[in-house]
Structures are given as structure tokens and as C-alpha cells.
């Protein structure tokens, strides 16, 4: 049995158990005497223990066993106190770290320190200590070599191995075992025993004798391997996703239809039957659209898959700060592309920490709300705390030279709030351990924008803050606005476009050196895409197409040659070395074979500044 092939399965299942444990631990604090929850916790950690031991991840199994003991104690006490919850949560974190180690194929990290530190509260349980046991890869020397694998169902591994050794002693002389009896006695033995046995029995006879042990899943007689061990494959942490079989059935059906479609198109083409060809293409369009939809489904995951940790985070923050904050999550079933969700984990956590740390003073509520608006998903973190003080931001911005005193006079609240996303900005009077010093909102904004989204900040002093991420549903296939500029076709993600308008050249005004227009009561600076791309000036036009977008939190008008239209495109990252081109976030191939670049105005401008 090649245990390694179960690794991914182990990792994904163990991770699920850990997530569940975190949620249960937070839940049980509200009802410390809830036996069912404690039992569920026990089962979860017990499963991890069993799986890890099977896999031979002894430190993981060891720690899980320790946590199991702690829970056992809680079970005996009939309740679980906050300190024990802290301890157990720390253990869950450590298990999380161990899974990281296993994922990266590193040796498992040390767990003895943690166990020793928390053993005091476990004294009542006696010396049930397990030490990770190493099994030799092979045993060298005379005698018959045996490899016995214990079945999954075997609950008590160490005792079972001892019984097996006793059994083998009846067949001859046991020369060596790995793990040794001493190691087995220490606990934490793996489900594998290698033995060198001096015996008069043949392999077949031995096999027959051992078959009466249904606890054995495998009885092997390995031949001596050359001492040179083959190099282990490099770690490839391929991420996996569970797909419902229904969806797979859809795929195969669609594939079948596509094959049929291909033949009808072929026939129509060879017969030059334009009517059939036309119909076939119509069908192809439908099939591809359907396929696209289904593939997206596979990539979609509910927001719940990343919000699982948040109640725990709030709980920890409350415990360390003494605040009383309740967390509510609405729309956790809203689905997004997994690639987007993965990028959102940290920003979301940061926004939550900000809300608890800086927003709420003593007690309050944080509401995380997700909803869909057409092909965008909005995720909002709202708190009913003290809100962001525009005066303080203005002051801080002046101190940091982010705005000039003149700007400070005229700057609007909306623009002021955007300043909290500037690198190194913070209004928290004191630095707190959790939110740190203002790093964060700029990171959040960058992450959101990298995904083709927009970050909106809204706050009312004394009433609270609402920070909203406006995100595309999927990263691979996005809707873009196509723009013509200096005979180049460029694309801008539609999520970045606030509005498109056309203006008359007469509407352009000047403010200092800057060209501006007045739009809906505010002055928008104008930028010329030709100028940014270092292209010669274009011919004079009667109407100037303008894309209103946001750069560094400020609304600007981008002058382009022509607005071509919108469409859905499949964006691919550019291959090396082109991915280093600043201002270009990917490319897509058009129906006629042309390459269209998706550009990112902000990084284009950064390059210009640099």
C-alpha cells in the first residue's frame, strides 16, 4: 500500500476538521457545558489523530492525541473554560502549522514544547505521552524481512504491534523490529512494523499464520534495496477541488454535443451548405457558453469557505482587548471564483481587525455582508463604531506630506477617506498588536485592485464605517471595455470603469498646469492615454471619448481615441519575460488572431513617475 498517495486526501480532510474545530471552540465558549459540542470536538481531533498516525505523521498524531486528552479532561469536568479554549485554539493553530509542513514536505515542526507547556493542566490524566516514532526505511542484516501494515480500523496501534511481536516470537527468533518495543512503549507508534525474523517457516507458511490477524491490512516480504535511495520528488502542492459528479456528467454530455457539432460543421463546410453552417455555428456558440458557465461553476466557492476563521479572530481580539464585539455574516453562500477568494482571505481579515481594533471602542457589532450586483460581487465590512474622523485624517495627511495645506482646504470627505489607503497611513493613536501600524488598508486596496475590483470607503463620524470591496465574479474571464488608442486596441476591466462620456474640447479647463473638466459638480483631472503611452498626438476630434476611472483613489478622466465596445474575454497572464511589462496585467487573443492587452492605468502611471 502506497500511503503517500493518500496525502492530499489527508490534508484536505484534516484541514476541514481543523476549521470545524475552530468554529466549535468559538461556539462552545458561549455554552461551556454543551456536551455535544465537546463530543464533536473530540471526534474531530480524534479523526485527525487517526489519519495522521496512518500517514506516519507522528508529530501531528502526537499533538492530536494530546488535544484529545485535553478534551477528554473537559468532558470529564463536564465543561470547558476560556483558558482551556485558548489552549485548544493554540493547539489547533499548531496543527494548522503541521499541515503546512506536510504540504510543503518539510519535516513536521516540534510539538513537544507546546505539549510540555500545556501538560500541567493534564496531570490528572497520567503519563499518556506519545513521542514521534521513526520507522527505519529498511532493516539490514540476516533473517527474513517482514513488513506488517496495520489496518485503519485498528484503534490501539502500540498494543497491537506488541501483540504481533509476541505472535512472531512463536514462529522463531525476532532479531530486530522497527519501531523497537521500547519505542512502541513510548507511544505514538505508526501503523507499520518492520521485522527481521529468524524462522524455519517459509514465507507462505508465515503469511498463512498471520492472516488470522484481520488487523493487518498488508503483509509484505520486502527484498533488500540498494542503499542508494531514490531522490524524492520535489514538493508540488497541487491544489485540489471537489467537483460534484453531476457537474462531471454535464461536462461529458457537453463534450459529446461538441463532437456531434463538430461533425455537422464539417459536413456543412464540405457541402458548402451555408444554412447548416450558420445553424451549426449558432449551436457551437450555445455549447461554448454553456461549457464556460459550467467550468466557472467548478471554480466557484462560497464566501463561507474563507469566513470560517473570522468568528475565531473576533473572539481572540475581544479577549485580548476586553471589547465586546459581535460578528454577523450575511450572504456567506455568495459564490466567487476560488482564485479571488484565496486573495481575499487576508484583506478580509484585515478589514475585520481594523473594525474591531480601531472602529469599535468598547462594544459593538461588525457585519460582513456579501451580495451580487449583476456580474459583480460586493463584500462589505461594516461596524457601528466611532467612524473615521476626517479631521484626524487631514491632520495626518498633512504631517505625512500626502496633501498640501492648500489641498487640505478644499479636499472632499470622499477623497480624504481614500487617503487611509496610502502606504504607511494610520490614524490609530496608539499602535495595537493586532492591527499594527496602518499597514493594511493600502494592502487591502492593492489586493482588491489586482483582482480587477474597487475598494469603496464610507464612514460617518460617530456612526461607524463601511468598507466595500466590489469584485468581479471570476478572474480568468472578465468583461472589458475595449479602447482604441494610437492604432492599438487595449482593454480595461469593466470593474475599473466608473463611466464613459464624450466631451467637447471647449469643455476642457485648466487648473494650474492640469487640464480638468467639470463633471457632475466636481473637477476631474484629465489624462491622455496617448501621452502616457508616449505616442504622438492624435488628430483633432470634435468629440473626445473619456473613460472615467480611479487612480490612487482619485477620479480621473482618461482621454482615448475611440471607445470600441464591451465584451467578455479570456485573460491570460503574459509569458516570461513579458509579464514584467509594467502597466499590462495580461493579454487576450481576439477572434481574428490579434492580441489585445489588458492594461492597468495605475501601474502605467507609476512607471511614468519612476
Amino acid at each position: 500500500m502506497d500511503i503517500a498517495k493518500y496525502r492530499d486526501m489527508f490534508l484536505s480532510e484534516a484541514a476541514e476538521h481543523l476549521q470545524q474545530m475552530t468554529a466549535l471552540l468559538v461556539a462552545v465558549e458561549q455554552q461551556p457545558a454543551d456536551k455535544d459540542t465537546v463530543a464533536a470536538l473530540f471526534r474531530a481531533v480524534h479523526s485527525i489523530k487517526g489519519m495522521a498516525a496512518t500517514m506516519g505523521f507522528s508529530a501531528t498524531a502526537h499533538l492530536a492525541h494530546h488535544l484529545e486528552d485535553s478534551l477528554d479532561l473537559c468532558r470529564e469536568q463536564g465543561q470547558i473554560d476560556s483558558e482551556q479554549i485558548d489552549q485548544l485554539l493554540a493547539g489547533v493553530d499548531l496543527l494548522d502549522g503541521l499541515l503546512d509542513d506536510i504540504t510543503a514536505q518539510r519535516p513536521e515542526r516540534d510539538v513537544d514544547g507546546f505539549i510540555a507547556a500545556s501538560a500541567i493542566c493534564l496531570q490528572e490524566l497520567g503519563p499518556e505521552h506519545m513521542t514521534p516514532v521513526e520507522v527505519a526505511d529498511q532493516l539490514d542484516g540476516e533473517g527474513l524481512r517482514l513488513e506488517l501494515h496495520l489496518a485503519e480500523k485498528v484503534a490501539a496501534v502500540g498494543p497491537r504491534l506488541l501483540v504481533l511481536i509476541r505472535q512472531l516470537e512463536k514462529f522463531g527468533k525476532v532479531l530486530e523490529t522497527s519501531p523497537s518495543e521500547e519505542q512502541i512503549m513510548q507511544g505514538g507508534a505508526p501503523r507499520l512494523l518492520r521485522v527481521r525474523l529468524q524462522t524455519a517457516l517459509s514465507q507462505e507458511q508465515l503469511q498463512q499464520q498471520l492472516r488470522q490477524f484481520s488487523e493487518l491490512s498488508d503483509i509484505l516480504f520486502p527484498v533488500e534495496k540498494a542503499s542508494q535511495r531514490p531522490q524524492k520528488k520535489p514538493a508540488t502542492a497541487a491544489s485540489t477541488v471537489r467537483v460534484s459528479t453531476d457537474l462531471l456528467d454535464h461536462f461529458i454530455n457537453l463534450t459529446g454535443e461538441l463532437i456531434t457539432n463538430r461533425y455537422s460543421l464539417q459536413t456543412a463546410a464540405s457541402e458548402q451548405n451555408w444554412q447548416d453552417l450558420h445553424e451549426g455555428l449558432g449551436q457551437l456558440t450555445r455549447l461554448v457558453k454553456n461549457l464556460h458557465h459550467q467550468v466557472l461553476q467548478v471554480r466557484m466557492m462560497p464566501l463561507a469557505s474563507i469566513t470560517g476563521r473570522l468568528p475565531r479572530a473576533v473572539r481572540d481580539l475581544c479577549r485580548s482587548s476586553g471589547k465586546e464585539v459581535s460578528l454577523e455574516i450575511e450572504g456567506a453562500d455568495i459564490e466567487l471564483d476560488r482564485a479571488i477568494l484565496e486573495e481575499l482571505t487576508d484583506p478580509l481579515m484585515h478589514m475585520l481587525r481594523n473594525a474591531v481594533d480601531h472602529g469599535i471602542k468598547e462594544r459593538g457589532k461588525v457585519l460582513i455582508k456579501a451580495w451580487r450586483e449583476r456580474d459583480q460581487v460586493l463584500i462589505q465590512v461594516a461596524d457601528d463604531g466611532c467612524g473615521i474622523d476626517p479631521q484626524k485624517i487631514c491632520q495626518r495627511a498633512l504631517e505625512r506630506n500626502l496633501i498640501s495645506p492648500a489641498q487640505a482646504e478644499t479636499i472632499r470627505n470622499y477623497d480624504l477617506l481614500q487617503l487611509i489607503c496610502s502606504p504607511g497611513f494610520s490614524t490609530a493613536a496608539e499602535v495595537s498588536a493586532t492591527s499594527g501600524r496602518g499597514v493594511g488598508m493600502d494592502v487591502v486596496k492593492t489586493a482588491v485592485e489586482r483582482l480587477g475590483g474597487v475598494l469603496l470607503i464610507d464612514s460617518v463620524l460617530g456612526e461607524g464605517s463601511k468598507i466595500t470591496m466590489k469584485l468581479p465574479l471570476s478572474v480568468a474571464i472578465i468583461r472589458v471595455l475595449m479602447i482604441d488608442c494610437a492604432e492599438m486596441l487595449l482593454a480595461l476591466p469593466i470593474t475599473r470603469v466608473l463611466q464613459t462620456i464624450e466631451i467637447l474640447p471647449e469643455e476642457i479647463q485648466t487648473s494650474g498646469k492640469q487640464l480638468v473638466i467639470s463633471h457632475q459638480g466636481e473637477l476631474l483631472p484629465l489624462l491622455s492615454l496617448r501621452k502616457i503611452l508616449k505616442r504622438p498626438k492624435g488628430p483633432k476630434q470634435k468629440l473626445l471619448p473619456l473613460v472615467i476611472t480611479e487612480v490612487l483613489g482619485r477620479k480621473v478622466g482618461l482621454v482615448v481615441d475611440r471607445l470600441v465596445g464591451q465584451r467578455e474575454v479570456f485573460v491570460q497572464p503574459l509569458p516570461t519575460p513579458f509579464e514584467r511589462l509594467r502597466g499590462c496585467s495580461g493579454g487576450t487573443i481576439l477572434g481574428d488572431g490579434r492580441l489585445m492587452f489588458v492594461f492597468d492605468l495605475q501601474s502605467l502611471l507609476e512607471k511614468r513617475r519612476g
Binding site: D72, E128, G158, L162, V163, K170, M185, G187, Q212
Partner: protein
Amino acid sequence: MTKRVLIVDDALFMRNLLRDIFSEAGWQVVAEAENGLRAIEEYNIHKPDLVTMDIVMPELGGLDAMRRILSEHADAKVVMCSALGQERMVMDAIKAGAKDFIVKPFQDQQVLEVVERVCGE
């Protein structure tokens, strides 16, 4: 020949459960004991083919009871009954001469496989 077993456990529920398992499989339950001291007495009276021995019991624990039985009857066949997390104690018992062990929650097949294997030798 019908095999004879002595069941030792402080919990009536567990004793009943084991009694059912053994009876259904055609074993004769010669006696039951609810602690280690009674177990030794019953063993001396009945000299059963097999003893199932719980570990944690009042008066005298299973390990000590087994040791005392083995010191008098070296050929006694004792199978330990353990709960999860008692591995260390089970290993001590095996080192001290227990033939095998069964783990709670008991499953008929698992119990019978172990005891029949032990008695088949």
C-alpha cells in the same frame, strides 16, 4: 468443547454486552466479576479458558488482578478490555503477559476474532 469465559468489568452494561456476544457465539460464561479481587476469586473457582479483563476498576484494577492470576496460573489467558486512550496501560498489560486486547466500543466480530485466536493456540 464449549469454551468457558470469565467476564470482568465494573460496568453492568459492559458485562451484559460481552455476555450476549459470548453466549450468541456458543461460549459459556462461567462467571462475572465487577472488580479485580472478585476476578481472582472467580478464576480460582472456575479456571476458565479465557478472562476478559477491564482495566480501570474499583478495589483492584485489571492489571494487578491479571498479574496475581498469572503468578498462580502461568497458562491463564487474559484479554484486556480497553477504552481509547488507554494504550499505555494496555501495552503494560501485554508486557506483563496479557495475550491480546479488545477496544471499546466493542464490535462482536472484533471481540470474537481476538478471543478465538487466543484460545485457538
